[in-house]
Symmetry: none
Subunit: 330 residues, 3 copies
């Protein structure tokens, strides 16, 4: 076990459910520590492991205030220049002793030299217990590499502000954005924002979009794979914007963009640093999923995005059913 932390009121929403973003931040902290430790385990250039990608993550059940989060991490694959870490989060009710798995996440880190932040250092090879372990890891490695290239294309899009009042349940009604000045506590030793800090802010915006849409208690159900294409420097101002793209009967998909303005010391222009899709569900007071008001799409763009969201939704559903069937087989 790498990390134990009691969930506090500030980690949770008014209904007492811990924010998905708080969990993502803890996951990333554990991942950074274990991968940085691994990358410095052999004589070589001192380096810091920096988050490059998080695979799709499901939130199996919400954590509550007063529970203890148990975060453990394990290195599961190393390529020449990257490390795969698998992190498991257990939620423990210390009063009853009951534990349940709330998250499993897979993260990819890249080690950057402490002296030269633009230099990627070589990763010490891990020892596999079986040949299959290595082969499966390599397969995952190749898959994520492909996916990284694809998502880069999505990055030209922007969220256009709405002028004047918008109707409830339209995209414009719930879209939201926030700005954040990157302070020292947000950053690694190299002076770049921790991936976990960015994810926490993204979840915050996505949660506000979801709550504005359905005006109930909402919780994070899953996060799509997130790629961190560009580093964000200390002192930058980041703008995190979210808009709803799709609703099913009981879930909402929210697209989130992170843009960075490195304004003070550098002449660099605003750039897209990260983008991702978050899925939220609405919960009743008893914690049961509630129906979600349908998203009203107006423009052609909004209709297209809705259809794309539907595609992702059906694909995920099909994958999950295939897994269930496989698991049920003798």
């Amino acid at each position: 076990r790498l990390l134990h932390r009691v969930m506090r009121p500030d980690d949770a929403n008014v209904a007492g459910n811990v924010h998905g973003g708080t969990v993502l931040k803890m996951i990333e902290e554990a991942g950074t520590i274990i991968s940085t430790r691994h990358c410095n385990s052999q004589a070589g250039e001192p380096c810091v492991a920096v988050l490059a990608r998080v695979e799709r993550t499901d939130f199996l059940s919400p954590m509550c205030i007063g529970e203890v989060a148990n975060v453990s991490a394990e290195i599961t694959y190393t390529s020449k220049h990257s490390v795969e870490v698998q992190v498991t989060v257990l939620s423990e009710n210390i009063l009853t002793g009951a534990k349940r798995v709330t998250n499993k996440a897979t993260l990819w880190y890249v080690p950057l030299s402490l002296k030269n932040v633009n230099k990627v250092v070589e990763v010490p090879a891990m020892q596999y217990t079986h040949k299959e372990q290595e082969d499966e890891g390599r397969k995952r490695y190749e898959e994520q590499k492909l996916d990284r290239l694809e998502t880069k294309q999505r990055n030209g899009d922007v969220i256009v502000p709405v002028i004047g009042p918008a109707e409830p349940h339209t995209v414009g009604y719930s879209q939201s954005s926030l700005i954040h000045l990157v302070g020292p506590s947000d950053c690694t030793l190299l002076g770049f924002v921790h991936g976990g800090v960015t994810m926490k802010l993204m979840d915050e915006v996505a949660g506000i979009v979801a709550a504005r849409h359905c005006k109930t208690n909402i919780v994070t159900a899953s996060v799509d794979a997130i790629n961190f294409h560009e580093k964000i420097k200390k002192g930058s101002v980041i703008t995190i914007s979210g808009r709803m793209t799709f609703t099913s009967n009981k879930s909402m998909e929210i697209e989130v963009f992170v843009d960075a303005d490195p304004f003070v010391d550098e002449p660099q222009e605003r750039y897209r640093a990260v983008s991702a899709f978050f899925t939220y569900v609405s919960l009743s007071k008893e914690g049961k999923p509630l129906p979600v008001p349908q998203l009203l799409v107006e423009s052609e763009e909004e209709k297209r995005r809705f259809e794309e969201g539907k595609g992702r939704y059906l694909q995920t559903k099909a994958k999950r059913q295939a897994q269930l069937q496989q698991a049920a087989q003798p």
Copy 2:
């Protein structure tokens, strides 16, 4: 002395200057403690003092990381239903022992019953050392009452989002907004946001507007009187928006609005909770004031606001000169 705190990297910007918002939050914390204590000093209904107004506050010199803030507070006037508190902030370099006054602020609090949050409780009368002390206090009390009425009118205005790219130095180029979900740590015992938390967020937005405009190290120079017309409840989402209204040779004026959506449990509409003007200056690496690029005003509205800002600027300048002359008299 009510409060001593070492200034940490997180309290400051990249250049090491403590954020004006951090200072405002400490000032309000000290004010809340001393006024709540006073309002409960006689047998009567238990109550919590809630910030109603902050008078115009000047930041005489920026504090730095590693310095110790010494905050002291004193009750200077009581009316039937309000308390005036004067707070002084000293910055102490504990290595050299040097101290300097960095802020003096005047705050007005209103005691609300702990059992019935809509009931204003009576304030125990303070003992004055001279008759003049009471008379001057009553004069300040009447003045702020008038001013509260006036600023209420400003509250219909909104910041309209800009579509598409904006030219540098226009109003649209630097305008910014952030959303914040109100958590338990932001709130008083009554479940309403501390005035100091709101002011810190307002300063954050204003600082980002100023930095986007002039792309240098900027610091808070002063804050106009702020009136807290409406309480903000735990669980609300607040939107803090800022736009530049005026520039002189060496200063920028930024108007900030705070709007609250009490969305989860209540059917209440979004409402304007607070508004204020912040003045910022731009500093060189040696801490000297730099010239500020002039604000490019385009619409009639922007021109009108610029002229109004100029009026406030000249009025403040005239007042300060009058004070200096008075001080110089034998």
Copy 3:
């Protein structure tokens, strides 16, 4: 009074009792300010006072959310290279005006040069009002010096992780650990972790161990003397581990170790930075002490530690009775 702070939800556990660690952190902050100020009070090398030791501290009664902590500190002895500070914490209910002493702590600081962190600077001698004051201080100084030597020996021990499920009430069942990456906000001007930050994390782990063991609302009752043998640098990863060593009818003793890995820039090995014993009690909803399930000790080591814990428990009890008798004498 050096410090006033309203206790917020995040400072407390679910039952509303402020964490012992939060109190220790405030105590240390006050101690750092007053001792750094003293050590720089005469012309000489600028320096920062660094925590070297905290004497055994009792938590006389738990603080609650909404109360105001009043922390005051006083220098009570100076040797050539160290300063003794006594800190008192009052808990004030600002609604009723009631105050009670919740803690008294004695801390030892050593001033390190701002230019050369390995150089201990000379402490300006304090003025004593009586000769006895100085003599008693010197006695305390000699005693703590001896004790520092002794505890150094305990430092070879480690907490071995448990493999597989453990039975309730065994040592393995409740033992816990967490890792923390040391960020800028955790550190002094010299770039080393504040002693108060370390103690807060230690209390967090000890609290989780205690809660796992007895599954009720638990609060810190006392902390044994803590010696800070080695500094911990910014960027280090610290591992804080806790295990239960002893239970009496109504208390639990938890041993906590802090190990530091200064891995990134330096070739230094993991080292033991601090170790201490925390005592916890279990409280009913009405705040009355509850019986504690007995610790099941299995190995020879566990039995030995239990006996040693019993020794410390009986010794403390005897001391307290002697003090009470002394106080009752005419």
